[in-house]
Symmetry: C2
Subunit: 366 residues, 2 copies
Amino acid sequence: MHFADALPLQSGKVIRDYNLAFETYGTLNADRSNAVLVCHALNASHHVAGEYEGQPKSEGWWDNMIGPGKPVDTNTFFVIGVNNLGSCFGSTGPMHLNPDTGEVYGADFPVVTVEDWVTAQARLLERLGIATLAAVLGGSLGGMQALSWTLQYPDRVRHAVVVASAPNLNAENIAFNEVARRAIVTDPDFHGGHFYRHGVVPKRGLRIARMIGHITYLSDDVMNAKFGRQLREGLALKYSTQDVEFQIESYLRYQGDKFSDYFDANTYLLITRALDYFDPARAHAGDLSQALAKARANFLLVSFSTDWRFSPRRSREIVKALLDNRRDVSYAEIDAPHGHDAFLLDDARYMNLIRSYFESKVARFG
Amino acid sequence: MHFADALPLQSGKVIRDYNLAFETYGTLNADRSNAVLVCHALNASHHVAGEYEGQPKSEGWWDNMIGPGKPVDTNTFFVIGVNNLGSCFGSTGPMHLNPDTGEVYGADFPVVTVEDWVTAQARLLERLGIATLAAVLGGSLGGMQALSWTLQYPDRVRHAVVVASAPNLNAENIAFNEVARRAIVTDPDFHGGHFYRHGVVPKRGLRIARMIGHITYLSDDVMNAKFGRQLREGLALKYSTQDVEFQIESYLRYQGDKFSDYFDANTYLLITRALDYFDPARAHAGDLSQALAKARANFLLVSFSTDWRFSPRRSREIVKALLDNRRDVSYAEIDAPHGHDAFLLDDARYMNLIRSYFESKVARFG
């Protein structure tokens, strides 16, 4: 969908003449009360569920969660997935033309925040004629957007489902983001963010960024179970510093290569920065309870025991701040071995929890 | 000290005509029974204690631990620090001439292992006329060397003090090493490890490697306490993806820059690979108790509660395997907030523990 009007951003800049890519699943009911917005995290998109016709293996990134008969049941709900501004899967981003200059944005694409994405999503919903969301749902950075919805548009969200998220990033998380960004920015093929003009891609940096991401989204336990100290080839050591010796090295290199083939480097910078900046308590001198006083929605928070980037402790901070404000909050801490990635995976307890929340609470329309 | 004779390495290669840089502190006693060898970790050297005359701020890396009247008291002990082969602080390494070719080694420097370092250290001690060590002491990778001493030369070590170490690296640790190595190897200035010939240094890669190291050597708690989400400049956000916004970013960039000015890229590869390869249980189908059956020394093991790269769990594996062999083992798990770095820091309980072990156990000579 095209938006001609300027969208004012938190940075003070504006963006105009932009597109938002989105998909919908299910049917909007007569009183338009069954809409569920799904917000995506770092490298996902508006393609939340289902397969594209004739394209096997094109399942949406949350296809286990969303669809007919699934925990978020599209026989009941009208689900909307939106690709965020600045991303690289269809919505306007750094690889598109800046209408003010006629040149590709590149590094000049404005910095976008979680709040900006939510504002853009709200405009899209207005166009779709949806005044109120039955629920907004997201994991990780998507969870931050869900939380922000309840603060920016408190009267337009009935339920917020915030999975594996945090009220802000701690220093260690910012640090990992910063290393990834430095790897990209210092890649000679980055050209200050204007690599498109040079017909190159800063793949070295993207690979390193993705490898760091992969390590930190997994738990120590799952890495040991999956790879341990297993060698890639047979039993004999090669004694090499540059060749692959252990399976884990091979896996990481493969993931890095794959990512560098499709992900935009400027998008990576923008999205990690949005993560860094999100901090609703900042305007309240760090008092999260005060920051969340505006929220009117009912909440479900979910965290995973081995998630060390968005640990249960961080979800509990949100829960406490909501309880301080006497909000209706359900909270589940799921004992799963998969680290941060758990929010994308099939775990029967997790799936049943989301299903029962949507069936018993969100589906009470009107 | 120069060694003309070829040293056979685990890889099957040999290294000859090499130098080992070392320092000693205190006085070797008449029956040569008070020698303590200190093994270093990733970016340290033979300069363990004391200051160089006329060079302020040149304290050794373990100066809080070793010296006259200190926990390892050089009024009692004769302490030896050795720079490992392949390092970049005086011993023969990748930046030196390969006697076989007359060219700088670069990437052709042979892969060296913990076991190779121990063999080289043992040769040095023979030259110094020291048949038996009162103790071998090391933290992290240095602790691996201390442990390996008790297996390679069981009758030549009376005590082994193994601090913040592990019986091998787990998958996550190998993964972090691999990302750091890829950052170096894919830096266009690396030139396959022969950057010396090109008059350049792969500083981009070294910076990234060091930033990753710094994050993982600290604990989440200490990073939050030290930096949190503090902005570098005032209170206003800059909304930039490339400028420094948070203090933690500034700190990491500074540490990366500093490191890239003095550390050798090939050494980084070699030393992280030595970490990856160390695994005494490997030849025993993973049975650490069987692997440690050879050890005859008495042991002190120390770990730190917030060290997530060399966690207490890993030290306890060593303790258990030693107890299975009915070795004399003392073990302390110190509740310190500083993560892996704690082994280098002043903590009264830690310092007193090492002091009392050396006073009451190691100092019983003869």
